[in-house]
Amino acid sequence: MRAKLFTSLAIGALGLLVGLWLICPPATRANGDKHEEKGGHAHVPAPLEYADAHVPLAVWTDPAMIARGKEIYTVKCAVCHGDTGDGKGPAGVVLPLKPSDFRDKAGVAEMRDNYWFWRVSDGGQVEPFKGKGSAMPSWKSELSVEDRWAVMAYQHTYSGHDGPHVPWEHPESVAMGRDIFVMACVPCHGVVGKGDGSVGPMLAPRRAPQPRDFTSAEFKFRSTPSGQLPMTADLFRTMTEGVRSGGGPMTIGLRGHRIMPSFQHMPVEQRLEVLEYVKSLNRGFWERGAVKTVTVPAPPTLTPERLTRGKQLYTDAECLACHGERGRGDGLSAPTLKDNRDLPIAATDLTRPERFKTGSRPEDVYRTLMTGLAGTPMPSYGDALEPDQAWDLVYYVLSLSNNRRRTSEAVR
């Protein structure tokens, strides 16, 4: 009798709660703040094409840049944002979406520099601002990058903040990313992102791979040249796809299972928020200059000749020293390989593309060849191979797969 009562109560409670869940849609924004009510200035993350548009630190306090910005602001911005930056310029007061008030310290502090740059560049011509009726024009065709930086530096003076406008001066700008990071990333990457969470040593004791140290300059999965920090898009790809297991004795029978989970179901803007927090742990993202990324050209048609050339390149480039003649990761050097932390590291078994850490699509393999994997013995062949040669090698590497059908599908 009592069991029935329990069961009935449980089913009733479950039904009620699921009903509530269904009739009440989730909040659309993740930050729980009320910006929507303060003029629609939602500080959403900058899209990937602007995510690396960080302003050089010196710009914010450079008197020359501030003066240059003032000239531009007076001509182009003051009419809406006002002479005092209060958002109450003569044209601004009649707009349906009020221009930003740069004197609002808290509001400005929450704006990241790449968001700010995106707003100045694209104005209100993009979502979500377009849908809110923003009249902000796009300035990217009229103002150079330096001009836009200068305007931002001048606008920044209204907030009363003296230093550079960066996350370590304004932690509130990455608060959302930090909260998600604490929940999802700290167990492996540690509280301050040094890769020293408690999970790593148990995951692969005393051997590579270990969780990434976000504060260091070494990132494996990049589209940037060897020795440089990755682009936000690279981090985004890793976060979205996770990291597959590179093999090792524990994974027999568990093909392709990830060592780092895929966060593909996390909404894009929240993934970007996490990445903004991750970048804030490493000032190098603000201190680097323009970065030339490795572009992946369109794959050429696979031909037998390409495979023949690829096989020769495999020998000439000494791939077999680590990966072995048949690509099984059993080359002569394989047992002695170590990473930069002096941890033993396995040469990837090329016959198991489902275990390739960054993916087994031809473009993934191409990128790995041309950039290398920083901190590991895998070098960059960006200077040694022409793109066409790289494709030959990519096709040969993929041809070593035990699962030829899968490989040929990937190549197609």
Binding site: L17, A27, R178, V186, G190, S198, G253, H265, M266
Partner: protein, 477 residues
């Protein structure tokens, strides 16, 4: 005797090698040879487990959030899974099988030495899956070939099949609190209460059904790398009590579970945590990623428990984590005292106060955890005063060290300062050491030895042995 032990170990090792070979042959190349959650999320077992079944920090977050990757729940739940993966794969990914227990046992005591092959203790089918971003189910269907039943005043071995220790749904109530006016945050499909940069609360999660609140405690008894041994009976009587984490055992001699059948509450029965399956409801929530609070109620025998627990995650730095948990549990009429007229018959119902503290330190490959739990009974008849001790304490400390990615060494010390009928009660001290070998992430073979550190007492099923050696398997697929 040593020679005999050597032969036994040799046979056991040979048997293990044979089974390992068969398993290797059977598993090579099978993607499916991992449990449900690993398949659903395409993750290695070790992403969540230090080594199965013990959870690491990420696994604890995963469990706390209702078996969802933290902040990355599938927005469409099972509907999207079915649409994208098909019914068959979704079904396969939702189930897992676990075979656990002995292959071989050797028990030594001054009176008798016994060696025998035994079937696995438990075969469990798991059905586990998030149905919605904020609703998950977890069901264990368990077969126990060696189960012990109590009927008509006698114990006997009787295979059992049915719902296991846990069969529940878990629901994130964050959205419900949002409806009631609390500020909420949407994090990867999961609604949290609070505001970024300020107060935050993950959950509260409601877990209802047959629940085990143990997982959130610093000492998770249901995630033991050193599994409880089996109760052994002969001629209707208890021959030997199992070796379990004594801190969480019932700790009293002479009690009864109920009046109808008069079934004894054995001193080593796990109560509140890691029980044989108790219907109830549990609420837990994580505050500011530092304090995990938990309250709930569970049925136990003829009464029910209410409990409150909190875990404080105090340190997380440079591969070092440290947390402390406290627990208070009040059981309303959960056991029966012995009848003062006839101690072999159940008397009136008793309340039980349980409180305790546990801690867990993880540093590199070392995982150390322990708990001290005090129990006190209320309502003991006046006629039993002087013959019945209403207080008892248990201490359990364990250390696991991952020597190599294939080898986990564990050691546990269990100390019982028992209560109950004074002429029956015996304290116990047991040291267990275990080597668990993982040829693959989801398969382990173990050799384990438990040593009774106290003098052997022939008529005490708690202490009528000197040494117990086990060779067993733990296989999830």
């Amino acid at each position: 005797m040593l020679k005999r032990l050597g032969v036994v170990v040799f046979i056991a090792a040979g048997l293990s090698a044979l089974v390992a070979g068969l398993v290797a042959f059977a598993s090579a190349g099978r993607v499916e040879a991992v449990p449900a959650f690993a398949r659903q999320y395409d993750l290695q077992c070790n992403a969540c487990h230090t080594r199965p079944p013990r959870l690491n920090r990420f696994g604890e977050q995963f469990h706390m959030m209702g078996f969802q990757i933290p902040s990355a729940a599938q927005p469409g739940g099972i509907v999207t899974s079915v649409r994208e993966d098909g019914v068959v794969k979704t079904l396969i990914d939702s189930v897992a099988l676990r075979v656990e227990g002995g292959l071989f046992e050797y028990t030594a005591s001054p009176q008798e030495t016994e060696a025998k092959f035994v079937p696995p203790d438990e075969i469990t089918l798991f059905v586990a899956r998030p149905l919605l971003p904020e609703l998950s189910i977890f069901v264990e269907i368990e077969g126990e070939p060696n189960a012990v039943a109590f009927e008509n005043g006698r114990y006997f071995n009787k295979g059992e099949f049915g719902l296991g220790k846990e069969a529940f749904f878990m629901l994130n109530l964050g959205r419900l609190l949002g409806l009631l006016g609390a500020p909420t945050m949407e994090m990867g499909g999961q609604t949290m209460v609070g505001k970024h940069g300020g107060f935050s609360m993950h959950g509260p999660m409601l877990m209802a059904g047959k629940v085990d609140p143990s997982t959130n405690f610093s000492y998770a008894t249901n995630r033991q790398l050193i599994a409880p041994t089996e109760l052994e009976v002969a001629q209707g009587e208890v021959e030997r009590l199992p070796v379990v984490p004594y801190a969480f055992a019932s700790k009293f001699f002479g009690l009864f579970k109920n009046s109808d059948e008069g079934e004894p509450q054995l001193v080593t029965d796990q109560v509140m945590y890691n029980t044989a399956g108790a219907p109830g409801a549990d609420f837990h929530a994580m505050f500011n990623d530092v304090v995990l609070g938990q309250i709930g109620f569970l049925r136990e025998n003829e009464g029910f428990n209410t409990y409150a627990a909190a875990r404080f995650d105090l340190l997380d730095r440079s591969e070092l984590t440290f947390n402390v948990s406290v627990l208070v549990n009040w059981g309303f009429g959960v056991v029966r005292a012995p009848n003062p007229e006839d101690p072999n018959q159940p008397g009136n119902r008793l309340d039980r106060l349980r409180y305790g503290i546990a801690a867990n330190v993880r540093w590199k490959q070392l995982d150390v955890y322990g708990a001290v739990i005090w129990d006190r009974l209320y309502g003991v008849p006046g006629a039993l005063r002087g013959t019945f001790d209403g207080t008892a304490t248990g201490l359990t400390m364990q250390a696991d060290y991952l020597v190599h990615e294939k080898l986990m060494l564990s050691s546990r010390f269990d100390q019982l300062w028992a209560g109950g009928l004074k002429d029956e009660k015996r304290d116990g001290s047991v040291l267990s050491v275990q080597a668990k070998f993982y040829p693959w992430q989801n398969i382990a073979f173990f050799v384990r030895d438990s040593v009774n550190l106290r003098s052997v007492v022939e008529d005490s099923p708690l202490r009528n042995w000197r040494n117990q050696l086990f060779v067993g398997i733990d296989w999830d697929f």
